[in-house]
C-alpha cells in the first residue's frame, strides 16, 4: 500500500515537473515578445528594457528556468503584471470559491446520477430507461454555458427564485446556498449525466452475474439484491468516471463562473487572458496541473475503499 502511494506520488511529481517545464518553454519560445504585448508596440526601447529587467527576461534562459522552478516550489509564482500583487495570493483568494462550487456539484451530481442509473438499469428497455438515456445524453451534450444560460433564464430572470448575479460574498448559510444553488446545479447536471450512464451499464453488467442470480434464487427481494449485493459491486467504474470527470467539472466551472458571474479560478483566468497577464496565466496553468494531478491521485486511492480486491502493487 505504502509503495503504491509513493509510486503514484512519484508519478504526480514527474507530471508536475513536466508541465512546469512545458509551460516555461512554451511561453518563452513561442513567437511574440511578451513585453511588446504588455506595453503595446508603441512602447519606447527604454521602457521595454526596464520591464524586461523587472520580470527577469534579460537573464540567460537556463537561469530563468532554474529561478522559475525554484520559485514555483517555494510558492513564489511571481507578481501579476496587471495588479502587481503576488500571483499565488490572488489564486488562493478565489480558489475556495471554485472548490466550494465543484465539491457541491460533485455531491449533487452523484446524488442525482446514481439513483437515475440504477432506475434505468432495473427497467432496462422500458420507458424509464429511454427517458434517462435521452435526458443524460442532453446533459452531456449541453456545453456548460448553454445549460447555465437556460437555468439563469428560467430560475433567475423569469421565475426570480434566485439572484441573477451570485456574488459569492454572502457569509450566512442561507445566502451562501442561494448563491451556490444555480451554479452548482448547472455543473451537477453534467456530472449526473455521466454518472447515470456509467451506473446504468455497470449495474447491467453486475445484474447478469451468477451471484445475483443466486441471491434471486434464494428468494431475496429485487430491491434487496440491487441495494445489498449489486450496488457495491457496480461502484468501481462509477468511481473511475467520477475521478475522470472531476477534470471536466473543473473545466466547466470556468464557463459556469462566467455565466453566473461568480468569483473563482474561471473569472481569474478570463481576466488574465483579456489583460495578457502572462505571469498570472503561468500561475493558473500550475494550479490547474496541481488540481488535475491531485484528483487523479485521489481517484486511484479511492478504488481501494470501494473494491478490497484492488492490490496496491
Amino acid at each position: 500500500m505504502l509503495g503504491f502511494v509513493l509510486r503514484r506520488l512519484g508519478f504526480a511529481v514527474v507530471t508536475l515537473f513536466a508541465v512546469l517545464t512545458l509551460v516555461f518553454f512554451v511561453i518563452r519560445v513561442l513567437p511574440g515578445d511578451p513585453t511588446v504585448v504588455i506595453l503595446g508596440d508603441q512602447a519606447s526601447a527604454q521602457s521595454i528594457a526596464l520591464l524586461r529587467e523587472r520580470i527577469g527576461l534579460d537573464r540567460p534562459i537556463w537561469l530563468q528556468y532554474v529561478q522559475f522552478l525554484g520559485g514555483a516550489l517555494r510558492g513564489d509564482w511571481g507578481t501579476s503584471l496587471v495588479s502587481g500583487r503576488p500571483v499565488i495570493g490572488e489564486i488562493l483568494n478565489v480558489l475556495p470559491h471554485t472548490l466550494e462550487l465543484t465539491a457541491f456539484a460533485l455531491v449533487l451530481g452523484v446524488a442525482m446520477g446514481l439513483p437515475a442509473g440504477i432506475w434505468a438499469a432495473v427497467n432496462r428497455n422500458r420507458i424509464p430507461d429511454y427517458v434517462t438515456r435521452i435526458v443524460s445524453l442532453l446533459g452531456l451534450s449541453a456545453p456548460a454555458f448553454v445549460s447555465g444560460i437556460v437555468l439563469l433564464l428560467v430560475f433567475a430572470i423569469v421565475l426570480r427564485w434566485f439572484p441573477v448575479i451570485s456574488s459569492g460574498q454572502s457569509t450566512d448559510l442561507w445566502g451562501k446556498l442561494r448563491d451556490l444553488t444555480l451554479p452548482a446545479l448547472n455543473l451537477a447536471l453534467i456530472m449526473a449525466a455521466y454518472v447515470t450512464r456509467v451506473t446504468r451499464s455497470s449495474m447491467l453488467e453486475v445484474l447478469s452475474q451468477d451471484y445475483v442470480r443466486t441471491a434471486m434464487a434464494k428468494g431475496a427481494s429485487g430491491t434487496a439484491v440491487v441495494l445489498r449485493h449489486a450496488l457495491r459491486n457496480c461502484l468501481i467504474p462509477v468511481v473511475t468516471v467520477v475521478g475522470l470527470y472531476l477534470g471536466i467539472l473543473i473545466g466547466n466551472s470556468v464557463l459556469t463562473e462566467i455565466v453566473f458571474n461568480r468569483p473563482g479560478l474561471g473569472k481569474l483566468i478570463v481576466g488574465a487572458l483579456n489583460q495578457r497577464d502572462y505571469t498570472m496565466l503561468q500561475g493558473m496553468m500550475v494550479i490547474y496541473t496541481l488540481i488535475v494531478v491531485l484528483v487523479n491521485l485521489a481517484t486511484d486511492l479511492v478504488y481501494g475503499l470501494v473494491d478490497p480486491r484492488v492490490q496496491y502493487k
Binding site: T15, A18, V19, V26, I27, L30, G32, R133, L137, L138, L140, S141, A142, P143, A144, F145, V146, I149, V150, L152, L153, I157, V164, G247, I248, I250, G251, N252, V254, L255, I258, V259, I269, V270, L273, N274, L281, M285, Y288, T289, V292, V293, N296
Partner: protein, 301 residues
C-alpha cells in the same frame, strides 16, 4: 461487406475496400438497429446541408448592421429576431454553422490521423517506446479539454488554424489510446505472426493488416470527440477566444447575446440551442455506433 465488424484477418481484398467495408458495416448496422442513431444522422446531415447552402438561403447578410432594427423579437421578416447591431440572427446562425462544422471536422480529422499513428506505433512496438509515449499521452489526457484549449489558444492566438490545432491537440491522446489497445492484442494474432514470418515490413503489417481492424473503434471515437470539439470551440468563443467578430460563430453569438440578456433573451438563446442540437446529434450518432460495434451488447440486444 458482410460482417465486417468482427476482428477477422483481412481477406483478399484491397485495404481500401476493407477500410470502407468496416466503416460501412458498422454504420449500416447502427442505422438499422438503433433509431436514435438514425435521428442523430438526419439532424447532422440537415445541419451540414444548411451550412453548405448558407450563402444561398440566408435571408440577410450575416454581418450587415441595421441599428434601427436592433434587438427585435422573432417576426416574419426576421424569423429568429435580430441582435444588438440589428443583424438577422437566423442568417448569422446559418453562416455560423459553417465554422462550427469546419473546425469540428478539421480538428478531429487531424487528431484521428496523428493519434492513430501514435497509438499504432506505441502498441506495435511495445516496450520502452510504448511506456514513454503513453505516459506523455496520459499527462495530456489528464487535462480537461476546455482548460487545455484555453491555454493553447491563449498562447497561440485565436485564429481558425490555431483553434483547430488546439482542439486537435486535446483529442490526440484519446485516439492514441483507442488505437493502441487493439493493436496490442492483434500483434499476437496468427495473421500478424504469419505476416512477420513471411518477412513483411513493420510498416506493411501496421498499415495493411492492423489498421483496417481498428477502424470501427476509431469511427465511434471520432463522432463522440467531434461532439466534444464542437462544444469546446463554442465554449472558447463564448469565453472570447473564438474567431474575431464580426464573423458569426455560435459561441461568439451567445457571448454577445449574453451581455444583453436582460434586454432580449433570444439573441443568446437561439445560438445556444443550435450548439446543443449539433452536439446532441453527434452524440446520438456516436452512441448508436458504439452499441453497434460492441460485441458484448450485440449478443443480448
Amino acid at each position: 461487406m458482410s460482417k465486417a465488424t468482427d476482428v477477422s484477418p483481412p481477406a483478399r481484398r484491397s485495404e481500401f475496400m476493407l477500410l470502407a467495408g468496416n466503416a460501412l458495416g458498422a454504420t449500416r448496422k447502427a442505422l438499422t438497429h438503433n433509431p436514435t442513431t438514425l435521428v442523430g444522422t438526419i439532424i447532422f446531415l440537415l445541419i451540414v446541408v444548411l451550412a453548405i447552402l448558407a450563402p444561398l438561403i440566408a435571408p440577410y447578410d450575416p454581418v450587415a448592421q441595421r441599428i434601427v432594427n436592433r434587438l427585435q423579437g422573432p417576426s416574419w421578416a426576421h424569423w429568429l429576431g435580430t441582435d444588438y447591431y440589428g443583424r438577422d440572427i437566423l442568417s448569422r446562425l446559418l453562416h455560423g454553422a459553417r465554422y462550427s462544422l469546419m473546425i469540428g471536422i478539421a480538428s478531429i480529422t487531424l487528431a484521428v490521423i496523428i493519434g492513430s499513428l501514435i497509438g499504432l506505433v506505441a502498441g506495435y512496438f511495445g516496450g520502452r517506446i510504448d511506456i514513454v509515449i503513453m505516459q506523455i499521452m496520459d499527462v495530456v489526457l489528464a487535462f480537461p479539454a476546455l482548460i487545455l484549449g484555453i491555454i493553447l489558444v491563449a498562447v497561440l492566438g485565436a485564429s481558425v488554424t490555431n483553434i483547430i490545432i488546439a482542439i486537435a491537440f486535446t483529442a490526440v491522446p484519446a485516439f492514441a489510446r483507442i488505437a493502441r489497445a487493439p493493436v496490442m492484442v492483434l500483434r499476437e494474432r496468427e495473421f500478424v505472426q504469419a505476416g512477420r514470418a513471411l518477412g513483411f515490413s513493420d510498416l506493411r503489417i501496421m498499415f495493411r493488416h492492423i489498421l483496417p481492424n481498428i477502424v470501427p473503434e476509431i469511427i465511434v471515437m471520432a463522432s463522440l470527440w467531434m461532439a466534444t470539439a464542437v462544444r469546446t470551440e463554442a465554449s472558447l468563443a463564448f469565453i472570447g477566444l473564438g474567431i474575431a467578430p464580426p464573423t458569426p460563430t455560435w459561441g461568439g453569438m451567445v457571448r454577445e447575446g449574453f451581455e444583453n440578456i436582460l434586454d432580449s433573451y433570444s439573441v443568446a438563446l437561439f445560438p445556444s440551442l443550435a450548439v446543443l442540437v449539433l452536439v446532441l446529434a453527434l452524440n446520438l450518432i456516436g452512441d448508436g455506433l458504439r452499441d453497434a460495434i460492441d460485441p458484448k451488447l450485440a449478443k443480448n440486444a
